[in-house]
Structures are given as C-alpha cells and as structure tokens.
Symmetry: C3
Subunit: 360 residues, 3 copies
C-alpha cells in the first residue's frame, strides 16, 4: 500500500537532541530516531528483538541504544552487541536499521531497500537555512490518508472557501486564476497567475506596493510520494514577474511533507518561510502566524473527507477541471507503487520481508 | 437492516435556523438538513460528489447549498448547478435529496423511495403546538440499537426499578397494573390501569385531587418503525376515566422518537408535555424537570444492554408476560422490513442503490 | 484461549460490602460478585436472562439478587425465583453461578466446570492476615494480555532498567545474580542470590545491618495460570541466609494476580507486605509506598509491548538466558490449556457450553 523505496521526512531535526530518542510509527512500521553523543542522527526498528518493547522506552549510551526492559544493547546498524547477564549474543539478535539523512533542519528516512537509498533524491529546501528568510514550522497529526493532504495542496481553489477566515480572499479570484499543470517523470507543477489583480489585505498590510493592482503567483511543486512546495507572492503590476523576475516583491515558500503513519493517519510536517526584509516587524510576524490556524482548517477538512470515504468508499467521485494537479500527482504515486511492486516480485527476497514465526 | 421507506424524525425544528445547516448520520447515511433564506426545510446527502467532504461544512446561499471545499453549488434537488472556475457542470454531479416535512416542531425525513413518501403517514403530535400544553424536549445520543429503546418504552414495569429515584413509585403497583395489549396493522397499544390506587407524591404535589385514591392510566402507542407516544395521568376515583372521560384530572403526553444513527447508536428525541393549567407554577415546573434525569436513566440501561448483547449475542433471552408489548412492536418492525426487502427484490433497481466504482 | 478450570482472583474482599455488588468481566465473561446480608460472598453471571441487562445494575435483597430493569429475582444458584407481575417463573429463567471462595482477603472464583472446583487448589497467602506483617494493595487495569505480566515478573533482571527511579539499583547487580530456575508439575520457582553485595539505599534506610555487605535473595514462585509470589530480602553477610535461615533480616512478600479480563486486558491485583517490626515508622512507610509507582512502571512496559505485538505479531522474538523462568511458566500454562481442551473434547457437553439461538 505504501511506497517504501523513497525518502520521507521522519522528524524535525530539533525534535531529537544529542543522546535523545523519539519513537514514531512511519508507514505502519515502528521507528526510533536517536542521536549519538556526537550528534549523529540514526534510526532503528522501534521494537526490541527480545520481548518487542519499543526501544524508544530505552536510552542512548554513547552511540548505542539500550533497551529499557532487560538492557539489550544495539549498535548503529541494529546489531545487538550485549545481552546483560550472558556472554554470548544470539546471532539472530538484531533489529532493522534505516538510512537517515539530516538535511535542511529535517530528518529524512528511507524505509525500503537500503541499497537504493540515494541521498541525492531527497527534496532540498534551502530556505530553512538561508539567513535571508524567516520561518515557522510544526507537525500535525492528521487522521486521514496522506494523499488526501496532497490532494488538498494540489488544488488551491480551496483557499477561498476553506481559509476564508485566514489566508483566503475572494473565492472567485482563486477559481479564475490562469492555471497551468505540467508533469515530468518525477514531479508535477501547477502554476497559477492572477495578473493585474487587487492584492489581498494581508499583502497590503505587509508590503508597500507601488501600483494599485499587482501580479500574483502561486507555484505548487509536487515531489512524490509525499512532498509539496508552494511558492506564492506578488509584485507591482507589469514589472516582469511573469517573465521570471520576482525581485522587489513579496514572497513566501511553504513546505508540506505528509508522511504516512498508517493508511488512515499522517504525520503532517509543514513550514512557512518568507523573506526577512519584508514589511514592518509586527506586520511581518502576523503574516506567518496565520499559518497554524490555516493548516488546522485543512486538518478539519481532510479528516471529515476521510470519515466520509470510510462510510461510503465505493460511491464514485466526480472530477472537475481544478483536479488536474491532484490527478497527475496521484498518477505519479500509483506509478511509483507499481514499479516497487514489480521490483519486489522480481526479487527472490523483498527488502522488507522477514521470516514469520510464532513468538514463543 | 433498516427500514428506509418510512418517516423518521431527523431533527428538532429549532436545531436549524434560516440559512443554517446541520449534518447528521441517519440509518448509516450522511444527511445535511438546511433551511433556505425563506425558512424552507430541506435535506441533501451530506457528501459532496466531488471530493466527498460533508456539505454541512459549507454554507447556505439563498436556497442553494455550497460546498466548503471547492465551492460546488447544489440546488434543492441536489443537482450541482455551479462548479467554480469552469463553465460546464458534469452531468453526474449531484447528490441525493430527501423528502423533508416540517411539522409539529419537528423535521421528518424519508430515506427510502421518494415516490412512496406520503406526508399523511407521519405521526402527528399536536401537543407541541397547542397553547394549552407546556413541554420540554431534547436529543440524547444513545450507544444502543434503536429497538432496545422501543423495548424499554413498551414495558413500563421497568419504571419502578429503573426510575425509582425519579418518576418511579412502588414497583409492585406497576407490575400489577391491569394491562392490555392490542395490535393493529400499523400500531401497537399497551393500556395499563391502576384503578383506585394511591397517587404518587409527584401527582399529589402538582394537583389537588378530591379523593384519597385515584384512577391512574398509562397508554403507550407504538407507531413503527420508531415512534412511541405515552399518555399518562390520573383523576378522582370513579369519575369516569375508564369510560373515556379524562377531563378534570392531571395528564401528560410523552413522545419518543428513536431514529437509528447506526446499528448500535441512536438519536433519541424525546419530549414531555402537560396541560398548562395544572398546579402551582413551581410545582408544574418540577413535574417536567424530572424528565431529563429519567431519560438519562434509560440511557444507562439500554447502553449496558447493548454492551451485554455485543459480548454474548447468541445466548437466548427468556420471555416474560410483560414483554407482550415489545414482542408485538418487534413483529411489526420485522414485518415492515420483510415488505421492504420484497419490494426491493421485485424492483429492477432498488431506490437506494447507486452504481459503485472505485474513487479515482 | 483461556484456562477456565482454575481459580482466579476476582476481587479484593473489601471491594464488596454486605448487600453490595460489583460487576466485572473475567475471561471475557460477565460476572457479578455480591454479598448477602450475612456477608457471604457469591458470584453469578452478570446478565439477566430476560433482557441481558447486567445484574450488577440491580440490588441485593437478603441473599437474593434482583435485576434493576424489570425486577426478576435470582437465588444463590442463579435460579430465577420471581418474575414480578406473573405467577409462573419460566423453567429456563436462570443464570450461571460460579463457585466463590473468600480467603486471605481475596475473592477467588472458578469459571469452569464447578465439579472440579477444589478450594484446596487455591494459592494461600497468609501474610494478608498475619498481624506481624503490614501490607498495601491495589488493582490496576492493564491493556495487555495477562501472560505479558507473568513474563515481566518471572524475569527480574528488568528491575534495574524499568524501575531505576523506584525500587531498582545497579542493573549489573541484577543481571549477574546467581539464578536458578526449577519447575514442578504445578509451579515454577526462580531463585536469585546476590551474596556479599552492597545493600540498596532503600534497604539501608529502613534497616540497620551489622555488616557493610549483605546476602540478598529474590524468590519468585509462579502458580499457574496467573499467580506470582515474590519473596525478597537481605540479612547480614554469611549469617546463614543461603542455608535457609532468613531471620534477623529485612523481608518482603509481593503477591501478583493477573486475572484476564479479555485477551488484551487484565485485572492486575497486587499486594506488597513487609514484617511490621522493621525500621523506624517513617522509613517503614516509605518502603511500601514506592510500590504503586513501581507497578505503574510495569504497566507502561507491558502495554507498550502489547501494542508492539499487535502491530507485528508474527515477527519472531529472540530468547535470552534470563527468559528461563518465563519460558517454563508459559509451558505450564500451555500444558493446562491443552489438558482442558482435551477434557472438553472428551465430554459430550462441555461445562461452559450453552445452547445458542437468536434473541427474540
């Protein structure tokens, strides 16, 4: 059901301190993130091989993880290197280890075949470390399938309805934006322009435009299986924005990472960044502080959707024009899933298979 | 499992104001009740045909309902008449509409074949609008099958046990009442008389009888699938009550409408009315204010019953004499269900069937 | 799944007063404990044969139990002796009765074939009534299978890890204790010695040893299916403790009774006793008051284990040396279960079978 051969965001970097640990279920598998004494980020299966207690109930000792039940000690690779009270460590005493990359203030984890875990495939987000930008972030637990969150982001005509009390504006302006959807082999881009339009009050409050109307843009990039980056902004009308020059305006970058917890629950990591120079200090602050409430509005919607689909999943849905982005996004995900299924069938032993037997 | 070709109470009329809406699951189907600007009561399927968000997250515009996700607009019949951002509305863009009748301060809804929805079949309750009567009401969410509530009401020998702290009295008086059960094709009536009996303290406090003992009555009418009306009262002994003259006494009318939400949860609407002239003001008030606590006692019982049946549903139950009313009530319900099943099998296309396909 | 032909602790004796009653699910069956007016402890099926309401919603009248719904009355054997409002009591109107023994401040119940319920099989615990001992007790609701609690108790190397903030000590001392496991046909004993060891701070605070190091012991007795008694203590080094003379030291007795509620929830009854003479009053008190927190730590562990096993039950577990006690305990339980299954198959009509038919 899930794509395992992919990088997922597993945690914000600051969720795990040196010698700290964090248990989290990702793609229905238990994972414990931890940092060694020198700060290195690691991830193991969060389930002691002895009696199945999550290792996140234990503690980090140097660069090893010790179970909090009977003290078994695991190294970075998940190999048990010590069983208190006995000399010999059983050969089968080990847990899975997962490749982790700490980058752009995030932990990225690869849950599939480690041989395929190429860090170059990770979505970069330099705005998190660029001193010219300020940003806020959070993680929301969403009781909905992760693709419902992607759907939400790929069709921003919802902004005028769902977010009318936060970042919205005239619904009409959003639904009549010039929209273009393009798809590559590894991404989907939805570009929306509202040229020569009245800037929303939030923009006006935060920035001094020189023209009464502005050219506004929204650029949504989907990177499968579960990342969406959104550039939004505006500048003076007819000053080259559409030709590619966005300097001298107001600009935001949003990052959305919807990592599946289970089929019906999602860790929704989000951040919102804006250029630091924009506007007066108190106005600047205001522009980002509307984000938590905004994403909370999305949470209500996708959870209600999930409950509705659970009740009557078989009833067909009707497509409309603004679905183009999400349809392409879902097709990319379906295609990755199909590839992975074929890969597994081809392999004698799939990467995430384990021998199954009864516990004693 | 449910009888769909029947009128059910869906909401109290004052739960939905003009331009207001209310989402509620009835018979395992999502329904949104709303009022147009001019106050007309309507009900649609509470599930947008586009992305399945409940329409109760949207808003009423004039006499139309607009989805709160991407702004699709539905008319009174559930036909989508506008999709923001595009000219053409897809032909299949529609949701179910349900016949609604607002009557006696209640919304009645027909969830089955609309062609059979005859308003004359609705149980009337004129006491809700008769200025000579005062009444209170509520809706309780009960975690039990609706028929367990009907059972409860059809055997009032429970009053002395379950309600000993509220409206009860001597259990013996209740279990030894003269009881007659009659059944027609469309209703069950249980009549209980306690002639020449000592009036309960609550009656004495509220009413000045001229005789030390009174003739008391309880008359329970079941109208399938899910309505029970109960007349109770007393008057001076041997002054014609049994012959049909109930004037000059104290009288109450209770209405109980147990509309299924799911197989194991019920919207239990109840009201209690009494003649306005009776007793001193503060005593009058007292007589009705015991009702919420009384129905809360029933809630405890039927929910415990449901949990017990869930645990061991297959263990047989033993019938006793006072079950006569509920046995007849259950037979009427079973018979309606049987009729509806036959009707569906006879029809080429059952009224509540919809083509089923995978969502895209 | 459960062993029914065995005594289980059902309640603390003081949980049920004369004329009091207590509903509790044991081995997935509803039980109501009650005391007659003269204090006799009894147990019936907690489900009225009429409409399935738990009898624990009723009341005790003399030595009979009356249902709180329509007033059916049951005698000590579960036979219905009165149905209000009718002369005849239906022959099939009865509920199961269970043998109960009140002993050592506990109610013991036998859920299987009453013919096999020999009170001599009940684990005795004289410390609860010995005036030379003081003790505390409680019941914890644990969301885990009862055998996970037995496992926990049979391998006390967990004490240094799980209980480091309460009764723990150096993990190493616990894991390097001299441990011997012996198994009889009806019990498992794990004996652990820490000779010539530094006494833990709690011991030192509570007792005046004459030697700098002490001989410490832990003796764990498992009595299937669900009882574990633990003797712990210490005395001056080389003063005969290992040879059997434990006088003149500090000693504790813990009792643990993990009665299944369902396959994944357990009533965990525990008590902790110590000799009354030991230490100064305030120190004595301290020694026992750490127990509630200690058992709460175990609750966290076994519930996390259960959740982990629920997620991936099929993944094999790895055995280590300190598992010897729990492995033997599980084998005894498996053997009892096997015996009971054979007994049932041999019998024409198993003791707990009942005819199954649809409720009317």
């Amino acid at each position: 059901m899930f794509i395992y051969n992919a990088w997922y965001m597993g945690a914000w970097a600051d969720e795990v301190k040196p010698l700290g640990l964090l248990g989290r279920v990702l793609l229905e598998l238990p994972v414990v993130f931890y940092r060694t004494e020198d700060g290195t980020a690691l991830a193991l299966e969060d389930r002691c091989c002895h009696r199945a207690l999550p290792l996140s109930h234990g503690c980090v000792v140097g660069d090893q993880l010790q179970c909090g039940y009977h003290g078994l000690v695991y190294d970075r690779k998940g190999v048990c290197v010590k069983v208190p009270g006995q000399e010999r460590v059983p050969a089968q005493a080990k847990v899975r280890s997962y490749p982790v990359v700490e980058q752009d203030e995030m932990f990225w984890i690869w849950m599939g075949d480690p041989a395929l875990a190429d860090p170059a495939l990770i979505v970069r987000h330099p705005w998190h470390t660029d001193p010219a930008w300020v940003w806020i972030k959070d993680r929301y637990s969403i009781n909905a399938n992760y693709q419902l969150i992607t759907d939400n982001l790929m069709d921003l005509t919802h902004v005028g309805y769902v977010h009318q009390r936060t970042i919205g504006g005239t619904p009409q302006a959003h639904s009549e934006a010039e929209t273009q959807t393009t798809r590559s082999e590894t991404s989907v881009k939805v570009t929306r322009w509202m040229p020569n339009s009245v800037p929303p009050p939030a923009y006006v409050a935060a920035f001094k435009f020189n023209t009464a109307t502005v050219d506004r843009w929204m650029e949504i990039d989907f990177f499968p299986p579960a990342a969406v980056r959104i550039h939004t902004g505006a500048k003076d009308v007819n000053t080259g924005a559409r030709e590619g020059d966005r300097s001298g305006g107001i600009a935001f970058v949003g990052l959305n990472l919807q990592t599946p917890e289970t089929a019906k629950s999602t860790h929704y990591f989000w951040s919102g960044a804006r250029t630091y120079e924009v506007g007066e200090p108190e106005l600047r602050a205001k522009l980002l502080t509307s984000l938590p409430a905004t994403f909370a509005e999305d949470k209500v919607v996708v959870e209600a959707q999930q409950a509705s689909l659970d009740r009557e999943g078989g009833v067909p849905l009707v497509m409309i024009a603004s679905d183009a982005g999400l349809v392409h996004a879902r097709r990319l995900v379906a295609s990755m899933l199909e590839n992975e299924t074929q890969l597994k069938e081809a392999a004698a032993k799939p990467p995430d298979a384990r021998p199954v037997q009864e516990p004693t």
